[in-house]
Each structure stands twice: as structure tokens, then as C-alpha cells.
């Protein structure tokens, strides 16, 4: 394994360990997801079958809100005691620091999603177990997109006033193509449509988004961290 990659895993492990000991953002994110799921049930007064038509939209709104809470802490976690300066000064390459942060956020968001998916199915009577395999692929692809872009912007705004407010302003517009694809494919999947034609092109859109922004973020992050 190249040295940078093992550094990235070390940073991801460190982030996950800190987070699982304090449970700062994961608790906030999971309970926020739960609250939003409850609120949606009042927002839409629909028959059971009609819920399938908006299921993907509901699920991904919840996930993207929860994701913003997770990635917000990605880099700002390092601010106390000047930990970020130490990380940047260490021999670890910038992309490895970023990749580690993104991987940790990815795992945390996946945990939140794994908690809220059964609750979502339960509240809205949606049988997601029948299509669990493809659904997991969609969730993993889109979650990586959210966390890689989110972690990049978390690094950008780490020193900004009101960063909790600024992150969503930057993050959601850039996530639009990803969310369109994730919402569309999830709705199609849960409604029992075949994943061919247009529905399959959603998957391609997810992969393309992930590849493009991962490459862009990994290449650019050095400029952001080293200033």
C-alpha cells in the first residue's frame, strides 16, 4: 500500500475513534434525521401508494441534511489546540489528510443512514427490503459523493465566520446533479421499476459525479490546506 494511503486510513481511524468516543456529530445527525422524518409525515398527507412516488426524494433530503451536519465537523474538529496546523505541518500529504477525513465522514454518514432507513420504511410503510441490494449500491455511491464534496467544502470554510450556515449554501447547489440521480433511482427502485434505460443512467450519473469531484478535490486540496 502506498504511504499516502496508509496515512489516509490512519487519519480516518483517528477521526472515527474520536467521533465514536464523543459521539458529537453522529448523535446530532441521527436525531436530526429522525426529527425530519417525523416532520415529513405531517407535510404530506398521502395514501400509502402515493408515498412510493416521493420516497426517494424524502429519503435523500433526510440524508443530505444529516450529511451536512456530519461533514461540518470534518475539519472544524481539528480547530481546538491548533490541531489542523499540526496536521498540515506533518509529513502527511494533503490529499491523504483529506481522503482520511472524507472516508471517516463516509462511514459516519453510512451509519446514520443505516439507522434511519429502517425507521423510514417503518413510518411510511415502504418495503425497501425487496430491493435492498441495488439500494445499498445507490446509497453508497451517493453517500460518497456527499461526503467527498462536503469534506472539501468543510476544509474551505473551516476558518469562516458562521461556517455552519455557509456550508449548506455552498454544498447543496453543487450536490444537485447527485441528488437528482439519487432521488430518481431510489424512487424507481422502491416503486419496483426495472433498473434499465433511464433508471440505469442515474447510476452512471452517480458514478460520474463521484469520479469527477473526487479527482478535483484530491487535486485541489493541497492549495486549500497549505496557505
Amino acid at each position: 500500500m502506498p504511504r499516502g494511503l496508509s496515512t489516509a486510513f490512519a487519519i480516518a481511524r483517528k477521526d472515527l475513534r474520536t467521533e465514536l468516543r464523543t459521539k458529537e456529530s453522529i448523535n446530532a445527525s441521527a436525531s436530526f434525521a429522525l426529527v425530519i422524518l417525523v416532520l415529513f409525515s405531517f407535510a404530506f398527507n398521502l395514501e400509502r401508494d402515493e408515498f412510493y412516488a416521493i420516497s426517494g426524494g424524502l429519503l435523500w433530503l433526510v440524508y443530505s441534511f444529516a450529511g451536512a451536519l456530519i461533514v461540518n465537523r470534518s475539519f472544524s474538529r481539528e480547530l481546538p489546540n491548533d490541531c489542523l496546523d499540526v496536521l498540515v505541518a506533518s509529513p502527511a500529504p494533503g490529499w491523504a489528510i483529506f481522503l482520511g477525513k472524507a472516508m471517516a465522514a463516509f462511514v459516519l454518514l453510512t451509519i446514520v443512514e443505516a439507522i434511519s432507513l429502517p425507521i423510514f420504511g417503518l413510518f411510511y410503510n415502504i418495503h425497501w427490503m425487496d430491493s435492498a441490494g441495488p439500494l445499498v449500491i445507490i446509497i453508497l455511491l451517493a453517500t460518497w459523493g456527499i461526503t467527498v464534496v462536503g469534506a472539501a467544502f468543510s476544509a474551505v470554510i473551516v476558518n469562516v465566520r458562521l461556517r455552519e450556515l455557509m456550508l449548506p449554501v455552498l454544498l447543496y447547489p453543487i450536490l444537485i446533479p447527485l441528488l437528482i440521480a439519487a432521488m430518481g433511482s431510489t424512487t424507481a427502485l422502491l416503486s419496483g421499476e426495472a433498473m434499465t434505460g433511464d433508471n440505469f443512467s442515474y447510476i452512471r450519473q452517480l458514478i460520474g459525479f463521484d469520479a469527477m469531484y473526487t479527482a478535483l478535490a484530491l487535486y485541489m486540496i493541497e492549495f486549500i490546506l497549505v496557505m
Binding site: 464534496v149 472539501a152 474551505v156 470554510i157 476558518n159 469562516v160 465566520r161 458562521l162 455557509m166 449554501v169 455552498l170 447543496y172 447547489p173 453543487i174 444537485i176 446533479p177 437528482i180 469527477m212 469531484y213 478535483l216 485541489m220 492549495f223 486549500i224 496557505m227
Partner: protein, 226 residues
């Protein structure tokens, strides 16, 4: 010198715009299918083209800033993005008016409109976040990063009506497929030129403000040092 350039560009742009409006409203006939409202194309499309041009200049100067760390490039980028975002707003509003008249609705969520709205929101985010960063180097670096990320949307906007298997309500690229009558071409070209001249003048005004601001900031720092 710069002030003279701003005046000349602005005046030429205004003259071209007045000349063009005269041609468009008084000399050109109504279009066969759409009636009078088609005239929006002489503002709508030039606004989008100029916006893309200035976003591209902003992208190049953002990259140059990251490479050379010269603050002039940062000032060029922010000036271009402010003016281009205004042009995108013009594009969205005129498009919406045309849509109301032709489709009966103000907004349709098709690929072209969604990507263009996304472009507006992305650069709006740039303009909102920028003043929140106090330290100058940091502000310029972060802005450059956001500008490069946001630019990824522009090819999507341009391709949105050219992809073969995308269903879109937005009219096709009439310039490329030759569906535009030859008599509409000169006002269309002058429309692009007029908006380019006006936008360039505005960019220069903003650039002037940015450089003065930087000078004031450095004087203030010097004063504090004393």
C-alpha cells in the same frame, strides 16, 4: 487611463444597445410561431453567452491566483463573477418571461433550466461566502477553490440542449442547426457585442473598487504597524 476605458466601453455598449433595441423593436417583423415575444432572444442568449465568457475568465484567473499568488487575479475573478452572475439573473428572468408566454408556465424543471439555476446558486454561494472570510490570502484562496468547483456546472449548462437523449423543453441551439432566419443574425451579433461592452465596463469598475480596497487595507495595516 482606466477611467477613460470604462467610459468608452460603457458608452459604446450603450450606443450598441440602443441601436439594437431600435432595430429589434421597430424594424424586425414578428416571428411566425411566437409573435412579438421572440425578441427576448436578443437579450436572453447574449446574456448567457457573456456570462459563460466571464465565468471562464474568472476560472482562468482563479487558477492563476492559486499558481502565482498575485492578488490581481483574485480581484479579476471576483469582478467577473459578480457581473456574470448578474447576467445569469438577466438570462433566467427573461427566459422565465418567455416561458410564461410560450408554455403558459413561468418555470419548467428541465435540464437546461435546472443547470442554469444551479449555476446561479453556486456563484451566489461564492459571493455570499467571500465576505465572511476576513484574512485576505485565505479569502482569495478559498474563493478560487469555490470558483473552480462551481465552474464544473458550466459545461453541463452548455451541453444540456445538445445531448442526443435528453428531453428538454428549451429550444435547441438555433445558431448551430441553422434554424435562425438570416435577418435575425446581425441584431443577435450586436446584442452579444453590446452586452459584452457593458459587462466589460462593469467588470473594470468592480476591478477598480477591488484594487482600491486592497490599497486601503494595506494602508490601514501600515498605520496599525506605526
Amino acid at each position: 487611463m482606466r477611467e477613460k476605458a470604462i467610459w468608452i466601453l460603457g458608452l459604446l455598449g450603450a450606443l450598441a444597445m440602443i441601436f439594437n433595441l431600435h432595430t429589434v423593436f421597430l424594424n424586425l417583423p414578428d416571428e411566425a410561431m411566437q409573435g412579438a415575444v421572440y425578441r427576448i432572444i436578443f437579450v436572453h442568449v447574449p446574456a448567457a453567452m457573456n456570462a459563460d465568457l466571464f465565468y471562464t475568465i474568472a476560472l482562468i484567473s482563479s487558477i492563476l491566483f492559486l499558481v502565482k499568488k498575485n492578488f490581481l487575479y483574485d480581484s479579476i475573478a471576483v469582478s467577473c463573477i459578480e457581473v456574470a452572475t448578474m447576467l445569469v439573473l438577466v438570462n433566467l428572468v427573461t427566459g422565465s418571461i418567455w416561458g410564461k408566454s410560450q408554455w403558459g408556465i413561468w418555470w419548467a424543471w428541465d435540464l437546461r433550466m435546472t443547470t442554469q439555476l444551479m449555476c446561479f446558486l453556486l456563484y451566489l454561494g461564492y459571493l455570499v461566502v467571500r465576505p465572511a472570510i476576513t484574512e485576505a490570502t485565505q479569502r482569495a484562496t478559498m474563493s478560487a477553490f469555490i470558483a473552480i468547483f462551481a465552474y464544473a456546472d458550466i459545461p453541463l449548462v452548455i451541453m444540456a440542449i445538445r445531448l442526443p437523449n435528453v428531453r428538454t423543453q428549451h429550444p435547441g441551439a438555433v445558431l448551430e442547426n441553422g434554424q435562425m432566419a438570416p435577418m435575425f443574425l446581425p441584431p443577435f451579433g450586436i446584442g452579444i457585442l453590446a452586452l459584452f461592452l457593458i459587462a466589460s465596463a462593469l467588470v473594470l469598475v468592480r476591478l477598480h473598487q477591488e484594487t482600491s480596497q486592497r490599497e486601503i487595507d494595506s494602508l490601514r495595516r501600515e498605520l496599525h504597524a506605526i
